[in-house]
Symmetry: C2
Subunit: 392 residues, 2 copies
């Protein structure tokens, strides 16, 4: 890309983040009465449901801490982060130290800690908050949640698992999140152990879950890495794959295995080739690897986070790999996303488009969408374009 284009893209992301996204959450999501955040916000930012979800509480703590750490040390951002971390600290954990899945507005637990990604996001929240306002306590809470996540990876749902042991499959999500945690929080791993995780994740994602013949990442594979011709075994979640790719770009850069970058670029391009909707544009949400009918009724919808993770992955790869095709894909996904998802009237991005790219649900936040993927991606892409500009 020419420098002008890189600068324009950098500026566009930065402006979107500062003017249209962070202000939406600052204005509408804080619960000053009970602490924590409302995440169920309609198009204009009105609270339509008061329940609170650990994933979204923790992710928003992380996001405002990161904005404070990376953009500028603005007190109001740190206050915002503190609102959430105090809620998690006061109400978040069960007697075993595991994080409940959801709460009433006041903090009474509603759903048991059945989901290990709650620990994962709690670890990230405490860790990033600790960077903004360091304390031994925050650091110990980050370490505690990280350890719970690593320990529970082998049996993520524990007693809440409904599956018998007959068809045990390896789940891509745990490798992917382990890579992200290991990169973000490496100093919390015991001396020397983080490298083991880095190599484990690289192997798991690039060799075991990546299907070279199809050019996609499989969500679930057999314990020996083999293909499982079952609904779970055939499931493809292209956004997940693209997200994992930029996690691995970071890991690979850190450990200095630059030879792997071109393989990662190849993977990203093949996932996009496989999952781009040639009729209406956009990336499908779910696909079946043998083209069987997916069971997910939302399979052909176009989701905000899928497109944003693609943008981070492509611009991150462009730093390391000089490839015109990456740039073409970047522009294609960028133009698709920026034309449809942002809402410059009320702020934040829409999350859910139908296959045709029309707004399908006009909420700005809910049980699964909060203050996370949009601002994280805008921040990551701003940083990627800054690096590309500097290198130019």
């Amino acid at each position: 890309m020419e420098k002008d284009e890189l600068i324009a893209l950098r500026d566009q992301h930065e402006k979107e983040l500062r003017e249209h996204v962070l202000p939406f959450w600052e204005m509408h999501s804080g619960d000053v009465e009970h602490g924590g955040y409302f995440s169920c916000l309609d198009r204009v930012g009105r609270v339509y449901d008061q329940d609170k979800f650990t994933w979204l509480q923790a992710r928003q703590v992380w996001m405002f801490s990161r904005a404070y750490n990376r953009i500028e040390a603005r007190d109001s951002w740190l206050d915002m982060a503190e609102l959430g971390i105090k809620f998690l600290d006061r109400h978040g954990q069960d007697p075993n130290g595991h994080y409940y899945f959801s709460f009433t507005r006041e903090g009474v637990p509603l759903m048991a800690p059945y989901n290990i990604y709650s620990e994962c996001f709690a670890a990230l929240a405490w860790h990033e908050y600790d960077r903004a306002r360091p304390s031994a306590y925050a650091r110990s809470k980050a370490k505690e949640a990280l350890d719970h996540f690593l320990t529970r990876r082998a049996s993520p749902k524990g007693v809440w698992s409904k599956a018998t042991s007959h068809r045990s499959l390896l789940s891509f999500g745990t490798s992917m999140m382990t890579a992200y945690l290991a990169y973000e929080m490496q100093e919390l791993f015991l001396d020397g152990t983080v490298d083991k995780y880095y190599h484990e994740c690289i192997q798991s994602i690039m060799e075991i879950h990546y299907d070279e013949s199809l050019g996609v990442i499989r969500e679930h594979v057999q314990l020996d890495g083999g293909y499982s011709d079952t609904m779970d075994g055939r499931l493809i979640n292209p956004g997940h794959g693209l997200e994992a790719i930029w996690f691995l770009v970071d890991v690979v850069e850190r450990i200095g295995q630059a030879t792997l970058m071109s393989k990662l670029a190849e993977m990203a391009k093949r996932i996009l080739d496989y999952s781009w909707d040639e009729v209406y544009g956009g990336i499908y949400y779910f696909m079946d690897a043998k083209g069987a009918p997916p069971q997910q009724l939302e399979h052909d919808q176009k989701l905000w986070w899928v497109h944003l993770e693609a943008l981070i992955a492509l611009s991150r790869l462009m730093i390391h790999v000089d490839d015109e095709v990456l740039e073409q894909w970047y522009r294609r996904v960028h133009n698709y996303a920026f034309a449809r998802f942002p809402d410059h009237v009320h702020g934040e991005w829409y999350g859910y488009l139908n296959r045709r790219g029309e707004v399908h649900l006009n909420l700005k936040g809910g049980k699964w969408k909060g203050c996370f993927h949009v601002p994280r991606a805008l921040l990551e892409c701003t940083s990627n374009f800054n690096r590309l500009i500097e290198a130019d």
Copy 2:
């Protein structure tokens, strides 16, 4: 309706059932090698996944037994029923007698008995099969499954429940299925107890779950019957409501409380007024009672069973209530459904249309759709129109 119209409708349903629906399942679903049925069938009837699900095994046993009992005593239909009941008998239950949720093709359990509707459909299967080929064994299995369902109603998910006890809500589904089981299997209830269930279900559905002011049935209410302003409390599933209405028409007819019929007709009309898509036609799948964004990404899709349950409810009500508006609604839903769901090239009906009424997933069966709602509705509507013709 004039007699000509009633006859035409009766004939249309009967022909659809005999020529386009039952043959599809007879031809494609039987697993002669391992017993039971394949339910994951694509548009043309090819098996795209071999897993077996108790709901769909049991429902298909019920359907072919009922066809044998109600249409004609065709040996091939009884053989078909036997294929499934033997599979359930051999593999269905855990050591406590509860039915697993799913199995491999060979019958190895995959998912624990976390779902009480498995018992419910198993009870119906054994009971209807026993009517076709009576035995003390089949009758005892029907009674066993019925008792498990009734016992587990209070805590449907048992140890697999992820919810804490803080927000206990009454679930409409259990009242609705209890009404159906009590009507279908009344001789299996201890003397005199079935009337208690009849009255309990009438009260639960018509007074507690039905919201008079909105004209809809709420899926979940507080234990005292009050409104819960939460995602679960606001959830409306119009197809569920319409299905329950015809269950209650049967119950009310049996116990001779004819004065309740006009209230049931009123409820059906109001649910349809509330949930009909005035732009594209069809009945929405999920709605939020205060108009907040639903969390179900498939909320505006048009599902086969929703429309079929509406047709049964409306034609059943027409037997008891003389109301031009019921007939208008009947024609409206019938014309919508028959123009879009049937596939006269390969048989059976499509299950999933997008909001615009276009085929969204072209499977004929899957994890949740099998040989049940289409043939049951065609049989029930044939019977309803026969009664209307006779009464004319």
